[in-house]
């Protein structure tokens, strides 16, 4: 879940009122957010780098707010405030409009065919006559970062580049070139580097090194030029220094390059809907044209409003409430989904704005209605579903109570196996021996058992593997105690109603197994089939687990008894 940090006072100012921490926490809860932490820059620095470093830092209170992973429209102060204000009925959701430039042609981004090999899509837009302040600027940068971390999947699906349009001139070309042929001065550097040099330069960059793998082994790297050959960016790694935006920037050119064009459109819509608020004509975005290698031209941003029709009966039925069509339309409108009763029966027309890319089905609209209604206001009812309970057979239960061994270890040593050896375990014995090794201070004898699944390859299964339930027991004492382990087998078989006879019942017979001491190992046969082994462990095995006492053990497959 992404976390957004906002300055509390700035947030309250934008919301037009103040809240106590508890009140704001409550508001977040209702709206599906979580006030995760109340902190300050100073506190963060002192926690991460020590008090000495924090002395000069700001005391301004920061709210860290957890935002649901599909609500990209809440990833910055602007979006949060808009969402909460509409939710609290203090603001009508703004309408976002794509406009043509007041004079001249729209900005053009031409994609060449070389990009197909590495990053084939791009979208673009212009924010015209924007006014930045330090806070707005910080938020603008922060939103890009949040989008990169989330929907953009660490820039692998989409990478955003923002540029001061007045420093560059279109039409722009999005192409791909061998790294040696790309050379420019990257953001915040003082000299030019080739792309090859940049890749090694950023190897040690704590931030950028995470993105290098996306293009590193490609023959060509993506790059965007302006009409004068100035490099805007080398996505998804770094922008050029030349076109970087500053507090004074008035006109912003936004480009998003992508491997997933749907996500690129969403990301661009998010960037422009959030920050067009600060344009001289608020909530308008100047269009840009993107020309694909096949000549097809698209206008961005899409800023599409989609209309859906559903019945209030549907919402009432799914949520378990009984509200009028008008009331439900009002509830939805509070979630930025402008809705009205059409007058045809109980039909509601819902308009899904470009900010709500998470609404892809009527059930999403239904959830928003439930949220606006308040989850905790919904009457809690008992389903009438009539069923009869059934359980899977769990032999561990009766064994646990009736066998003389000391415990069931819910053994999760496949965990260690997974991390250290990268295999799922195929036997339970090592886990029990490790448990004994970790409990050597306990009084003897130690008697442990475990009933658990191991994983075996099996071509007949759709995934090529299956679980197999095992029973493993270990007796650890000053004498090997084969008779104890053997007695346990006898008792287990008695409980499973298997008689001690060859053929139809069970028997054991001498076997060779390097895990066990020579002459002290037997194979267990049930109804003629081998199901496992028991015996006195080989001293080499005992030593390898750093144990010092003789030890007898039993491990068998209990699938036949399930």
């Amino acid at each position: 879940m992404p976390t957004v940090g906002v300055k509390r006072d700035l947030l309250f100012k934008a919301l037009g009122r103040t809240y106590t921490d508890e009140e704001f926490d409550e508001l977040c809860f209702e709206f599906g957010l979580e006030l995760d932490e109340i902190t300050s820059e100073k506190e963060i620095i002192s926690r991460e780098q020590g008090d000495s470093k924090a002395s000069g830092a700001s005391d301004t209170i920061l709210y860290k707010i957890d935002v649901p992973a599909n609500r990209y429209d809440l990833l910055c102060l602007e979006g949060l405030v808009r969402g909460l204000q509409v939710f609290k009925n203090t603001l009508e959701a703004p309408r976002y409009r794509r406009v043509s430039p007041s004079s001249g042609e729209p900005q053009k981004l031409v994609i060449t065919k070389e990009t197909a090999a590495v990053r084939p899509h791009a979208v673009a837009a212009v924010l015209r006559n924007i006014t930045f302040t330090q806070e707005r600027y910080d938020s603008f940068i922060e939103l890009q970062e949040k989008l990169h971390q989330n929907i953009c999947r660490l820039r692998s699906l989409v990478a955003i580049g923002t540029h001061d349009l007045d420093t560059i001139s279109g039409p722009f070309t999005y192409t791909a070139k061998p790294p040696g042929d790309i050379s420019f001065k990257p953001l915040n550097q003082t000299k030019e580097y080739t792309a090859t040099q940049l890749m090694s330069l950023y190897k040690t960059d704590s931030h950028l090194r995470h993105y290098l793998h996306i293009i590193e082994d490609k023959p060509v790297y993506p790059v965007i030029y302006d009409s004068n050959g100035i490099v805007l960016s080398m996505p998804p790694i770094i922008n050029g220094d030349h076109s970087k935006i500053t507090l004074k920037t008035k006109n912003v050119f936004i480009e998003c390059t992508a491997t997933d064009v749907t996500k690129a459109k969403i990301v661009l819509d998010m960037m422009v809907t959030m920050f067009s608020e600060y344009c001289s004509q608020p909530f308008t975005v100047e269009e840009a044209e993107v020309v694909y290698p096949d000549g097809k031209t698209y206008k961005y941003p899409e800023l599409a409003y989609r209309k859906e029709k559903l019945s209030s009966e549907f919402i009432n039925r799914k949520v378990g409430i009984n509200e009028s069509t008008e009331k439900i339309a009002q509830l939805l409108t509070r979630m930025c989904l402008l809705s009205q009763a059409t007058g045809v029966g109980d039909e509601i027309e819902v308009e899904i704005p470009p900010t709500r890319s998470d609404i892809i089905h009527a059930c999403d609209i239904m959830e928003d209605a439930a949220m606006a209604y308040g989850f905790n206001n919904i009457p809690r009812t008992t389903p009438r579903t009539y069923t009869v309970a059934n359980q899977q057979f769990v032999p561990s239960l009766f064994l646990g109570h009736s066998c003389p061994l000391r415990q069931i270890v819910a053994h999760l040593s496949s965990l260690t196996t997974l991390c250290h050896h990268q295999v799922a375990r195929t036997t339970l014995l090592p886990g029990l021996l490790k448990t004994i090794a970790a409990n050597r201070k306990m009084p003897l004898p130690l008697k442990l058992f475990e009933i658990s699944d191991v994983v075996l390859k099996d071509e007949t299964k759709d995934v090529g593997a299956r679980n197999s339930r095992r029973f493993c027991a270990v007796y650890y004492n000053k004498s090997p105690g084969f008779e104890v382990i053997h007695g346990l087998l006898d008792r287990t078989m008695q409980l499973l109603e298997v008689k001690s006879v060859r053929g139809d019942g069970y028997h054991i017979q001498a076997a060779d197994d390097s895990t066990f001491f020579p002459g002290r190992c037997a194979e267990i046969f049930v109804r003629g089939k081998s199901v496992g082994r028991l015996g006195v462990l080989h001293p080499d095995v005992i030593n390898r687990f750093e144990l010092t006492m003789p030890c007898s053990a039993l491990e068998m497959d209990i699938e036949p008894f399930l």
């Binding site: 799914k318 999403d364 919904i378 809690r380 270890v409 997974l418 970790a438 442990l448 390859k457 090529g464």
Partner: protein, 463 residues
């Protein structure tokens, strides 16, 4: 039992005196070791209030080994003097006629127990020279007890078959039991706390009419673990960083083909009333085998199976292991148990989900619940379940829940008016809270503390 002779002699001695006797003096007068008298005192004490014995300690001085030697043979100086023959010495004229061996005399005084004639200073001087040492002696001051008697009957420790048979128990006195002592620990097995809590959860589900799902498949294809749940292929949970991928067997090779086509379509193009995710869905991604990240993969298989027959309402549950490639810390392991409940029926509402969660958690002893809107790729609505923690005085998250998305259910072939509600929580967290365990590594894995397992009480979740 100490020597009866000594015991009787001791009792007669006590009978004669008015106040009492000192055990050391008794030992000296009887000419036996002090320990013998101590033994007699102890055994008399065990018989009740025949005598009263008060522990006393006294200090006296004793010669050290070197001191004993000097007392017997004279001080080193004196011995040097006496061993030098007069004629062999050139300085004989300087020699005194005789010496007065004061050290020896002092030590002899101590040896004869006339220590009182020595001054403290002198004793300390000799102590410094390691010739004397001060010893603390413990003795008993023995006097008559409330039920003093010189004749004692031997007390029996236990009732024997003979006593029962011949009735001799009637004449016998029996040694009292020490009810302060602990009993003998029974030889029995101990269930791991996690298993005890699991049993309770199973019980709760069974009481509520839920049927247990077969969860014996740790290895799952991405298809059933993610795709069938409408979790897009670029979802972060499908990353190497979050999920364990298998190298062998790396790929699943068998899927219900038409269902797979419907899943592909709903992801890439939409359908069933959905816009879909509009991306290029790849079979290669769906084929990848993983260690299942949730038991919901099993629920998906069960719901698909349910959809292949004439629909009847079901209530399912499972409690089993799931695997996540997490950073390990005090509360996270790469492996944990997930508890999951699923109900499928016509016309289930969000209110029904909250109602059934209320019933479920009431059985766990949790009655104050509230719900927070949340996001989950395969449920809509999704709700986090919070309960009010009386100790912490705040709301804490206790589980997750939701209504499965139509994009998950309809491609399976379930009827359109069937809703499926579900919830999940981990088994480890309630177990850690129940048994007061702070570090998950002490609960699970081979580092588990067996003493904790032996000592952990039975599990009753409602109390």
């Amino acid at each position: 039992m100490a020597d009866t002779g000594v015991v009787e002699t001791l009792l007669r001695l006590i009978e004669k005196v008015d106040d009492g006797v000192d055990s050391l003096e008794v030992a000296a007068s009887l000419g036996v070791d002090h320990q013998v008298i101590v033994g007699a005192v102890k055994s008399l004490q065990a018989l009740g209030d025949i005598i009263s014995a008060e522990l006393r300690s006294s200090k006296h001085w004793e010669l050290t080994e070197e001191g004993t030697e000097i007392a017997e043979q004279g001080s080193h100086e004196a011995r040097v003097f006496s061993s030098i023959p007069l004629e062999g010495l050139a300085q004989s004229e300087l020699m005194v006629e005789s010496i007065d061996d004061q050290v020896r005399e002092k030590l002899l005084l101590v040896k004869k127990a006339n220590t009182a004639q020595l001054e403290e200073k002198e004793k300390n001087e000799l102590k410094k020279r390691k010739l004397l040492s001060e010893v603390t002696v413990k003795s008993y001051w023995i006097s008559k007890g409330i039920s003093f008697s010189t004749t004692i009957t031997k007390q029996e420790t236990e009732l024997t078959p003979e006593m029962v048979a011949n009735g001799s128990w009637k004449e016998k006195k029996f040694k009292p039991y020490n009810f302060e002592a602990m009993g003998v620990a029974p030889d029995c097995g101990h269930l791991h706390p996690l298993m005890k809590v699991r049993t309770q959860f199973r019980q709760i589900f069974l009481e509520m009419g839920f049927t247990e799902m077969p969860t014996n498949n740790f290895i799952e294809s991405s298809f059933w673990n993610f795709d069938s749940l409408f979790q897009p292929q670029q979802h972060p949970a499908r990353d190497q960083h979050d999920t364990f991928f298998l190298s062998d067997p790396a790929l699943a090779h068998e899927f219900p083909q038409d269902y797979l086509e419907r899943v592909k379509k709903v992801h890439s193009e939409g359908g069933f009333g959905s816009q879909g995710y509009k991306y290029d869905w790849k079979i290669e991604e769906a084929q990848k085998n993983i260690l299942r990240t949730h038991t919901t993969a099993v629920s998906a298989r069960m719901l698909y199976k349910l959809a292949q027959q004439k629909f009847t309402p079901v209530k399912y549950f499972s409690i089993d292991r799931v695997f996540r490639n997490e950073t390990l810390d005090a509360t996270h392991l790469a492996e944990f148990h997930q508890i999951e409940g699923v109900v499928a029926d016509y016309g289930l509402t969000l209110g029904d989900l909250m109602g059934i969660l209320h019933q479920f958690f009431t059985k766990l002893g949790i009655t104050k619940l509230r719900f927070k809107p949340a996001y989950n790729p395969y449920t809509e609505p999704s709700m986090e379940v919070f309960s009010y923690h009386e100790g912490l005085k705040k709301w804490v998250e206790v589980g997750n829940s939701g209504v499965f998305r139509p994009e998950m259910l309809l491609p399976m072939g379930l009827p359109e008016d069937v809703s499926v509600i579900a919830w999940g929580l981990s088994l480890e967290r309630p177990t850690m809270i129940k048994y007061g365990i702070n570090n998950i590594r002490e609960l699970v894995g081979h580092k588990v503390n067996l003493q904790m397992v032996y000592d952990s009480p039975i599990c009753r979740l409602e109390s």
